[in-house]
Symmetry: C2
Subunit: 240 residues, 2 copies
């Protein structure tokens, strides 16, 4: 049973401002929620239909709700049995970046693209993504779902990239238009790989932090390459 | 000046059925339209504001319209000066596939994904895409715009893949989960590369036509790789 106030509170979490203030995000559906729980995300509260609860008797902070109540709090037209509020990961929870490939996103503004990048990172076993503060919000309910559970395995931290890169000791690769052909780059076990905004590229104030400029050679006439596609091509080359 | 009937006719072209019957598609905005004209697409009619027409006095089949009229026929909230109806390319207009890499799409159903694939193909200089009849419609107005002009340079033909592959003499690569690691594949100058549906893969009846199975190795736990990302990784490897 959901009180009117609880419904209202949950609905406020559709807005980034409120999620940020509360330091939480919401997720829905069997698959994404079970992967987040499995990945030890801190579960604040879970709202579920009776049949889901009957199968998950060990879950704490659970509230039984009706289909109608689920519809009120869901962000989707066809909700799927369970809705949960999780605490975000904090920067401290990011595991060390040593001996790992880490993606650094500079101004990726399209939420769908960000979701695809997170899934691509997960495919290649990338554990961490550092994102500029103007990168799309991974905790937007639609992006959470679009990652199809990969959000449970890839940690994203939003931070001031300039400050972060100033204190960094790992070699930094940057995808630019005039760098070394990616096909000549060797497999790597440790680096930061900066992916810039699709139309603007990596911004000027970040460029000086790049140790090695890399490029995906253009054979045709497309104006730009989708940022998720570019990230996939670079990770495939570095990781496999 | 637009008659009410003409507005109605143009609005019917928002539906695939009507576009197919008329064998046309619509495009909007300065960039996409000028690239389509440059690529010698057959222009059936163009509707434009006075200032655009003043700069393009050599265009035939042009009708001057007002901003209000443009809003009525446009598919977008903020139309951009010009709207055009083009004839689709026919299968006969596809240039030969010999000595070229050609993408074959088997059931790519997400329109956004298809637009990204067309742009990625254009980046790597791919001229032709053969798509199964259940692949998303490239002539959907939103996809046309999403290709950002690449639709002018990459030809897409929809056909029965089974019949097409039965008559094909070019080596066929297929992206599957248990193929040869893509990093071991050599650069190629001629082949068909089949990309399957993201969740279902290449369908069973198409699999026998694959001469060489290739895979993008998975290091992490993502369930699947976005089809456009997969196409980009494979093309980067084959072409550059």
């Amino acid at each position: 049973m959901l009180s009117r106030n609880e419904v209202k509170y949950i609905q406020t979490l559709r807005h980034k401002k409120n999620r940020d203030e509360e330091d939480v995000f919401t997720a829905e559906g069997l698959k994404v929620i079970s992967e987040l729980i499995e990945a030890d995300f801190n579960l604040k509260k879970i709202y579920a239909l009776k049949d889901w609860l009957d199968e998950h008797t060990d879950i704490e902070n659970a509230v039984e709700i009706t289909e109608d109540e689920l519809k009120k709090i869901s962000n989707f037209k066809t909700p799927n049995k369970v809705f949960a509020i999780f605490r975000k990961k904090t920067a401290e929870q990011i595991h060390g970046l040593k001996n790992k490939i880490t993606l650094v996103l500079d101004g990726i503004q399209d939420p769908g693209n960000l979701g695809t990048i997170v899934r691509t990172a997960d495919w290649f076993g990338i554990e961490n993504i550092i994102a500029s503060t103007d990168t799309a919000d991974i905790y937007n309910p639609k992006v959470v779902q679009a990652t199809m559970g990969s959000i449970a395995r890839v940690s994203i931290v939003y931070t001031d990239l300039k400050a972060f890169l100033s204190n960094n000791k790992i070699v930094v690769l940057g995808a630019v238009l005039d760098g070394e052909n990616i096909s000549a780059i060797e497999k790597l076990t440790e680096s930061l790989v900066i992916i810039g905004n699709e139309s603007k590229g990596i911004r000027n104030e970040i460029q000086p932090f790049i140790h090695k400029k890399i490029s995906i050679p253009k054979k045709g006439n497309a104006e730009s390459l989708n940022a998720a596609v570019a990230a996939g091509i670079i990770l495939a080359k570095l990781v496999s």
